[in-house]
Symmetry: C2
Subunit: 475 residues, 2 copies
Amino acid sequence: MAERITPRSEDFGQWYVDVVLNAKLADYSPVKGCMVIRPTGYAIWEKIQQQLDSMFKETGHVNAYFPLFIPESFLHKEAEHVEGFAPECAVVTHGGGKKLEEPLVIRPTSETIINAMFTKWIQSYRDLPMLINQWANVVRWEMRTKLFLRTTEFLWQEGHTCHATEKEAREETIRMLNIYKKFAEEYMAIPIIDGIKTESEKFAGAVETYCIEMLMQDGRALQGGTSHLLGQNFAKAFGTKYLSKEGKQEYVWQTSWGVSTRLVGAIVLAHSDDKGLVLPPRLAPLQCVIIPIFKKDFDSSKLLEKINELKDKLKDKVSVKIDDTENNSPGFKFHQYEIEGVPVRVEIGPKDFENGVFTIARRDTGEKFTIPFKDAPKKIEGLMEEIQNAMFKKAKDILDSRTFTMDDYEAFKTKCEEGGMFLLHWCGRRECEDQIKADTKATIRCLSFDYKKEKGKCICCGKPSERRVHFARSH
Amino acid sequence: MAERITPRSEDFGQWYVDVVLNAKLADYSPVKGCMVIRPTGYAIWEKIQQQLDSMFKETGHVNAYFPLFIPESFLHKEAEHVEGFAPECAVVTHGGGKKLEEPLVIRPTSETIINAMFTKWIQSYRDLPMLINQWANVVRWEMRTKLFLRTTEFLWQEGHTCHATEKEAREETIRMLNIYKKFAEEYMAIPIIDGIKTESEKFAGAVETYCIEMLMQDGRALQGGTSHLLGQNFAKAFGTKYLSKEGKQEYVWQTSWGVSTRLVGAIVLAHSDDKGLVLPPRLAPLQCVIIPIFKKDFDSSKLLEKINELKDKLKDKVSVKIDDTENNSPGFKFHQYEIEGVPVRVEIGPKDFENGVFTIARRDTGEKFTIPFKDAPKKIEGLMEEIQNAMFKKAKDILDSRTFTMDDYEAFKTKCEEGGMFLLHWCGRRECEDQIKADTKATIRCLSFDYKKEKGKCICCGKPSERRVHFARSH
């Protein structure tokens, strides 16, 4: 059933596709550029949703739902926005058998349609802040697609907020970026670099775009999430005003922020190995699988009794399943659950039983060891935390060992071929950013919050620079 | 802020819109036929989703996500299906700035695109049953729209399953209908009539359509959910086959079933009153609001201490909020929470405090009474169940008192003007079904499971009939 997974060393791109398809996370669809999220992949997305949704609600946000369709004219109200998104839009020209008077664009993002509603809903400072989130599908026409990472349609959440002051909007922008950071590090087990995007990389229509950036196993960066300070751009385009305490009509200050099903792809790229998927326990729909190894001449009911006992002790703390089907051999099953990334596998055969132990296999390290019956529930529960931490540490080691501080352009160009994050001096000018991209395919991932002032020279033009910024090739 | 709610007796249609808008459940959008689900309405939808999703998962279903777009040619593969849905489709003709080679239809329902995937995924009997659900938005072009009840875009869940035998598929169809029934009665507090649709009312492409039908306060019926036995229609159109145990290639047997955001509208229509929304406690995002009545010369901290104590005792069992804002008067707040349908309101002023009691107001009946401090947590918790049951009983009384058994066509025609469910003899012929609809606007809601054999004459043509069926005008 399972096809061969190409080793990473042979072809990283093919390895990624093989892992996604073999773990049944997603599949290609008959619609160009669109994928199907299969149950195993969707269950991971549900775990992501549950956790993020509760973090959003804890910080005062509420969910709502806005139309899929956006009148084409709305997109045109904010000049930068239309320039950025119009080329990627899918357009509905016919509905109910008739040509539409005005074409409808399928939302590539919802700032415009949501602002039209904000304008209706917000009258006074008492209505602020307005903190809304939407879980939805969006469409951005893509030429080159890749399962989870870049598809024409994808699922995401988009937060949209209105505030009375710029200060509050700025605080919100950073608050949500910090939630993404916390989520990426503590749940996805992926260390991030947080900072601000350059002018050329910012969201079309934003004043500033903040992001979390990750480094994948192939040394390429991946943008994990963005949080935008929109200023008053959309408020002015849509007339979103409020009556201040002082009785004046003022434009609201806004933010928007989002993460998507791309995060599922990030988990694959950051942690998986040549055997298949490796999932951080906190986002694994199934955390532990128990497999009995039946033998002739050994009473299988003894094994079943033991594993049911273990399952009962675990089930309130760990998501657990017994696989005692007899269609497939234990070896086949081990292989399957490895492909699917289940963090812990418990085995028990007649010999284990006689020794009073379970055999435990860790998916992340491949380690196997035995544990006395009575210690097993506690040990397995503890393993979840242990694996979660070990996976973060491993990803952090990759990031640290592949972050390079460089000052020589030629050396950088060569090194860049191997991948990695590069801390380079940059003069701040678009020309150099573009030149470096043309020469190396590396882009500025962000101007990280965490940096030290340091006098230096732009690696491209030699003009003075005050700090280093993160460059990398990206997914 | 709140506008007047038109009394039901004056204009039921306007009353419905007023309740929805004033409770901020939804709003009109700038896109024709599409609505915005506001946070208060979306929170109800989230409660519906959570409960149904857990019921689906308990019965072995898993969630997945399929593309929004369907190639136009797919729709044409099943003859009845395209005839039913093509006139309602929104069509994407352009993407990424170019005209598409083949237009894409926005899913009105996903049988076709999902069957294309089933064909890929299902090889042998070991892959069956395949039990998949999707939470998604769908689009059906509508001329006359009504918030929640009929909108061009709406949110729903659609289950799609494949089975090895017709028997299993039929069992699944009924299993899911029963889940809808249970949910409607136990959570929405709305009694239902379950049964099978006539040929003319069944889903385009199904062999049989089962449904749950409800009676609203205005005497009009509302279809709450449908469960379809698809037979092998889509399997044959898409070549969805499996290798049987006996080594033969067989077409799978299928079902599909769905409910939508329309259920939010049903809750409004079934339970609300001239003051605004009335929510069944099990689906109320906020179940209890506590409002202190501050007075000059009375230490407000005493009140706050008492209500915080109450909140702490309630919070694990009841969703509760204190509203101690001072912008608005208690009377204004009472009014607001009535409009929003919060099942229980707790008040406490200086006099209550001195008497050692809280004043409790039930939203469903309007009753007000006092309760000693120490009894309050238990009483309020119990009230949730009490209100839930009372609301169901009230809705059941409406259904019972407005169900009429009639045999005279002229009398029925007159009576039908007032609304109600009508149990009529029908010969089983399309002509009479159409004639009755033309004469009275009433349609056959279903051939209910619960009926007794009874010889009679078709109310329209006088030909023999074996049973009565449910007729009503519907929303």
